[in-house]
């Protein structure tokens, strides 16, 4: 009987208390599992028609890291935003030790699964834990949960901000929670590295049969979250040494001969990532804002991205949100950067969410993306209009 109660307690602690969660306890070892599902459907409504790289545009990238791209082939497309995740946790009772893992299968990767998280955690005291293993890089407010559609207010994250070549790392982090006056504070300090073969991000720029390997070494960073009642803010700094290479060869059945990247390819550069979020959840109103700046000393361009969203709980279990997001590359002219050859785009979206139950929701979203790249920017994906529908569930 005791085991049964513990199992239910544990189920709630890891899996939102739904009846489907698996949890057992035996001999002081607690095992539990839960999961999440997003079925995403999308249809391009219009935009600039062209073949860009090897995409049949109009194109809308919903997930840069996984090459999740809606294109203009017509019909309803399901691959870019559909995913199934399973997560498990093993915990040694009363020891402060636990191990957590998550695997995700994505439509964007043809249904193949990969391990996104696998880390051990040790609770040093009530407010501090040390974690070791593979985790998400906490670059953005929604980084930790970018695959869990139910936790997001959108059908997909605003791509202008949430897109970069690496999203995970292997390493160690120290997590500390405390209070600063009236503020709840969470400080996370991390160090590690990420060696990524065949980055999905670079397939968008170099072609679906290209291959780009990305190495981030000496990753060091921290994120600080402060929350007080209806206001939450988050600051992030991460730096790394970064090098990427495009190996020539036959990838996915096609011979790939890369054109050299004059600025970054094969060169070790240091990148410094700064981001900040300021969010308000007051009465029935939501305001989300997030800002990103990536500097690369020694490289000829920098990245800037922003998003602002305003939402309202328009009725019980209904929420509407408008979002504006913008990406703009900035040339460093002193290092040869061309101001007229920078990537830029903005996206406006309207999202309506309906919670079907405490563990499921459907969302409808309309995105209108405008290309703001300089006249010499290549590849120019152009404008796009996209309608998406998602069903999200956690279990």
């Amino acid at each position: 009987m005791k085991n049964k109660i513990n199992a239910v307690v544990l189920a709630c602690s890891v899996g939102l208390c739904s009846a489907d969660v698996f949890a057992v306890e035996e001999g002081g070892l607690r095992l539990s599992g839960s999961g999440f599902l997003t079925v995403g459907l999308g249809k391009m409504l219009g935009g600039d028609r062209a073949t860009v790289v090897d995409f049949n545009c109009p194109c809308f990238t919903s997930d840069y890291a996984q090459t999740g791209v809606y294109d203009g082939r017509g019909g309803v497309q399901w691959r870019p935003d559909t995913r199934l995740g399973l997560q498990g946790r093993a915990e040694l009772a009363d020891s402060g030790l636990s191990f957590t893992a998550q695997a995700v299968a994505r439509g964007a990767n043809g249904g193949q699964g990969d391990v996104q998280w696998a880390y051990g955690s040790y609770l040093l005291n009530d407010s501090t834990s040390i974690q070791l293993g593979r985790k998400r890089l906490p670059m953005f407010y929604y980084s930790d949960t970018q695959d869990v559609g139910f936790a997001l207010p959108w059908t997909h994250l605003p791509p202008q901000l949430y897109g970069w070549e690496a999203v995970n790392y292997n390493g160690v982090n120290l997590l500390h929670r405390s209070t600063w006056g009236q503020w709840g504070a969470t400080l996370n300090v991390l160090a590690g590295r990420e060696h990524l073969r065949d980055s999905g991000y670079w397939k968008i720029y170099n072609g679906q049969h290209s291959r780009t390997d990305v190495n981030w070494d000496n990753i060091v960073g921290a994120d600080l979250t402060l929350v007080r009642d209806w206001f939450e803010t988050r600051f992030v700094y991460i730096q790394s040494n970064t090098v990427r290479s495009n190996p020539t060869g036959v990838w996915n059945g096609v011979t790939y001969t890369p054109s050299p990247d004059p600025y970054l390819n094969g060169k070790v550069t240091r990148q410094r990532i700064y981001s900040a979020a300021f969010n308000v959840d007051y009465a029935d109103w939501l305001m989300l804002s997030e800002f990103l700046y990536i500097a690369r000393p020694g490289a000829a361009f920098e990245d800037t991205a922003q998003l602002v969203a305003l939402g309202n709980r328009i009725a019980p279990n209904w929420q509407a949100m408008v979002t504006l997001s913008r990406y703009q590359g900035k040339a460093v002219t002193a290092l040869g950067g061309d101001p007229l050859a920078q990537e830029g785009h903005v996206s406006r979206s309207l999202t309506v969410r309906r919670d079907l139950s405490p563990t499921s929701a459907i969302k409808v979203q309309f995105d209108s993306q405008k290309d703001r790249g300089g006249p010499r920017w290549i590849p120019r994906f152009g404008n796009a209009r996209l309608l998406t529908l998602s069903y999200d569930r956690v279990f």
Binding site: I5, V8, V9, A11, C12, S13, V14, L16, C17, S18, F36, Q87, S98, T100, Q102, W117, S121, D126, S127, S129, Q131, K135, R136, Y142, D144, T145, V148, F150, A151, L175, R177, S178, T179, Q182, G184, T186, N188, V227, R228, D229, A283, D284, P316, N317, D355, S357, P358, T359, S360, A361, V394
Partner: protein, 141 residues
């Protein structure tokens, strides 16, 4: 006839079951005499579990199928259970915070609070007994 119509109209807008007031309770030995709404939110949303008496709070949740749980979070945070679950989906998997411990019902909440100095629970006001201390009235001014 007018009176009958009035009663009929009233019955259409009144809830079928009148929700009972909820209160947040602690163990009398916790050293806590009262909590503010912000402190209750911090404890149950995992933002800050340190009580004013420096004890680390052990918040208890009722099953999601209970009306009291929906009522508690709706009155405390203005959010639905789906929104609360979405909030936890964002935090708990990374180990950044852990949700409250699930109990089987209000009887177990009372037993755990009576037995544990750190336990914090919400129960219907009528369930309160002399062995627990009310520190916050949910939905109160």
């Amino acid at each position: 006839m007018r009176g009958l119509l009035f009663i009929l109209a009233l019955s259409m807008v009144a809830p079928a079951v009148v929700a009972e007031d909820l209160v947040v309770i602690v163990n009398p030995k916790s050293g806590v005499s009262q909590l503010t709404r912000e402190e209750v939110v911090d404890v149950f949303m995992g933002r800050n579990r340190q009580l004013p008496s420096r004890l680390t709070a052990l918040p208890l949740d009722l099953p999601s199928s209970t009306a009291e749980r929906e009522q508690f979070y709706r009155q405390l945070t203005g959010r639905s259970l789906a929104e609360i679950n979405a909030y936890w989906a964002r935090l708990m998997f990374t180990g950044r915070a852990t949700p409250p411990i699930l109990v089987s019902g209000q009887d177990e909440s009372l037993l755990m609070v009576m037995d544990n100095r750190s336990a914090v629970a919400y129960v219907s006001r009528s369930r309160v007994n002399a062995q627990v201390k009310v520190v916050y009235e949910v939905g109160g001014k």
